[in-house]
Point group: C2
Chain length 396, copies 2
């Protein structure tokens, strides 16, 4: 795929509790923002296919959202559009499938869009219920998590990180502090306020040792990217961003099959595949948007992607290496911690951030670029056994 695929436009909406917007509204707004973002302009009819990331339609009863819904909502029935659902990595995987579609030579210009209404139902019936096996929609099949929702699984990881790696609740809280700071500078974030380690540790315990502020919020949102043949990209923009690596990594469906609780093999596999495709190493990356659904998860992600050895992420974080102006900024957007996690929109929101940073258009949250390479990562699904890593670069 390297050298064949470029991003020519990205768009998202401000994530939040968007009770005043329908799914259609959010999709249309992200799509129009995306079209506007194509520097030299684009005729929507040039888009010949789309991949539509959508989770909530199936799982929490927000209506059936097949590929045709996207086509119908953006008023372009001449596209082919598949719906991708792949749990929490749905957004990153939607982008991956769009890239494969372009690399195939069948389509020159395609759209990847993810959108979710997460707040129209209470948490217990939304991500909490579906993810936790409490919901009627997902609880009755043994391949799902059987009562183990996101906080419960990550709390097991966190206790093991404390036991094996010596990590502390303060270490986890520092992830929240960093990401809330970054989010306070990002106009798209759900939460745009700073917090302190004390505030995290004094917030209610959701699932020990994770506090309220160790968890990302549940949020509505939509985000999109227009993906194009690399050799045509300059027609649309002087600042194309090229896709160097893209890989989906998987693992067992069940926690009892896991050999470690301080590492997520799905992430290790996704990163390995993406780096191999890109032909680079973690040290070549300037910054990354990682899947911090919980604070301890970001520390695992950092290690599993290869930015730190196991047990070293917390110290590097404390030393400021992952700060916005540190050696390797992690989640300059504020991450899921500040943006929330509208499943299919999350990964594409991260792609938005990586592209915006690589174009040096990130305003107050702009990181310093060296090699001009950024990385996006998601993880989730039953037992967190699905992960995706996309690596993007300013150079073809």
């Amino acid at each position: 795929m390297k050298g064949k695929v470029a991003v020519i436009g990205v768009g998202m909406i401000k994530f939040g509790e968007l009770f005043d917007k329908s799914l259609e509204n959010m999709i249309q707004e992200a799509y129009l923002n995306c079209l506007k973002n194509v520097e030299k302009g684009i005729d929507p009819k040039e888009i010949k296919a789309a991949w539509f990331g959508q989770w909530s339609g199936g799982f929490i009863g927000q209506g059936a959202q097949g590929g045709q819904s996207l086509a119908s909502m953006i008023g372009n029935l001449d596209i082919s559009c598949s719906r991708i659902e792949n749990a929490c990595p749905t957004g990153g995987d939607t982008f991956r499938n769009a890239c494969l579609g372009v690399a195939s030579g069948v389509f020159d210009v395609v759209l990847a869009l993810g959108a979710e209404k997460m707040r129209d139902k209470p948490s217990a019936e939304s991500l909490g219920g579906a993810g936790g096996g409490g919901g009627a929609e997902t609880g009755n099949h043994p391949s799902w998590m059987m009562g183990q929702g996101g906080p419960a699984i990550q709390a097991m990881h966190a206790t093991r990180q404390m036991h094996e790696l010596g990590y502390t609740m303060e270490d986890f809280a520092r992830v929240a502090v960093k990401n809330h700071h970054n989010g306070s500078l990002c106009p798209y974030a759900h939460y745009q306020f700073e917090i302190t380690v004390e505030r995290v540790l004094n917030s209610p315990v959701i699932c020990w040792p994770l506090h309220l502020f160790d968890c990302c919020p549940q949020t509505d949102g939509a985000a999109a990217a227009i993906v194009c043949r690399a050799d045509l990209a300059k027609k649309y923009t002087d600042k194309p961003v090229y896709v160097w690596g893209s890989h989906l990594g998987l693992d067992h469906n069940q926690l009892w099959d896991r050999s470690s609780f301080v590492s997520q093999p799905s992430v290790v596999r996704a990163a390995k595949g993406a780096f191999e495709m890109a032909g680079i190493e973690p040290k070549d990356v300037d910054f990354a948007e990682l899947h911090d659904c919980f604070t301890n998860t970001e520390l695992m992600d950092i290690e599993d992607v290869g930015f730190a050895r196991s047990g070293e992420a917390a110290k590097k974080l404390k030393d400021g290496e992952f700060d916005m102006h540190g050696k390797l900024p992690i989640n300059p957007s504020g991450g899921l911690k500040a943006h929330g996690h509208p499943i299919a929109a999350t990964g594409l929101g991260q792609i938005f951030e990586v592209v915006t940073q690589l174009r040096e258009q990130a305003d107050k949250r702009q990181v310093k670029l060296k090699n001009g390479i950024g990385l996006q990562q998601n993880v989730g699904g039953p037992a967190f056994g699905a992960a995706v890593v996309n690596i993007l670069s300013r150079s073809r």
Copy 2:
């Protein structure tokens, strides 16, 4: 894509009311049958990616089935696997995405697999409920069909076919008679018995003018195909089948936006795209597996794909043109009418049939080949606004 992609193995299980098999059982059986079907053998580890078609997991509460479920169930965690959900064309679209994955140059050998448990819930809560807007899972979003289930929509089409084209209930019934005959010769069909026009017309009315035997049954099933780079195919089999055309066509989400009820624009678009890619015309096709969820739908499919002009399909059917040994056999497998419609498995079951016929391994139901070209088609989704057409050939 033409010239780049081949099918080297197909596998399915006997469709039916499979209360004695779990989703895992069905997936594993179809997968193992598919591996065995690769003539010169294949090491499962050569499969590097998969696309998993799954509808019921999200929509009728059979558990969350992301891509990792397939990987975990077949015991190969080193694959990348996305879940595709695209309503009734999920199976054909899963195959399309697998083909794009190979055409991209990223993967040499991939798996497309679709499986559904449709019978563990009563019809009213299964396809009937979800499709009809009666189910809690899908009824509460206005982009879905708002009370219009499959039978109701197709009954509207059927009455319009009667009014505009002069079609009769006998014409519809003849589709059932033909397909039940074909199905009686196919060991994979759910229903393996003959019926008569009289039996169709004397069966209970489901939604006038459609009788019970105008409707396909609800059925459990699984089917799979292994897709490979065309230039590597002969390593695995002396009888590769090549993918010449593959296209997904869409239409509005709502019936009130439809301009005709004797044609489905999604099918017209899918066929146009697939024929353009293949560089052939409908007259070049030897036989086809079309989406006969209802008998009148097959007549529309025949016309929309381009095998007959509008209003001419019924006469050609009556004249025997679409019989197994007619000029253009339609649904030599028995179609959905005899196989049932386990959503994501349906399209891949049709691919199984097309490949088996093109290899001349279809035993009692073998059709005569001239050009060695077969076609597969699905249609469905809200207002039947999603369709897929795949065109396969013995020649590269």
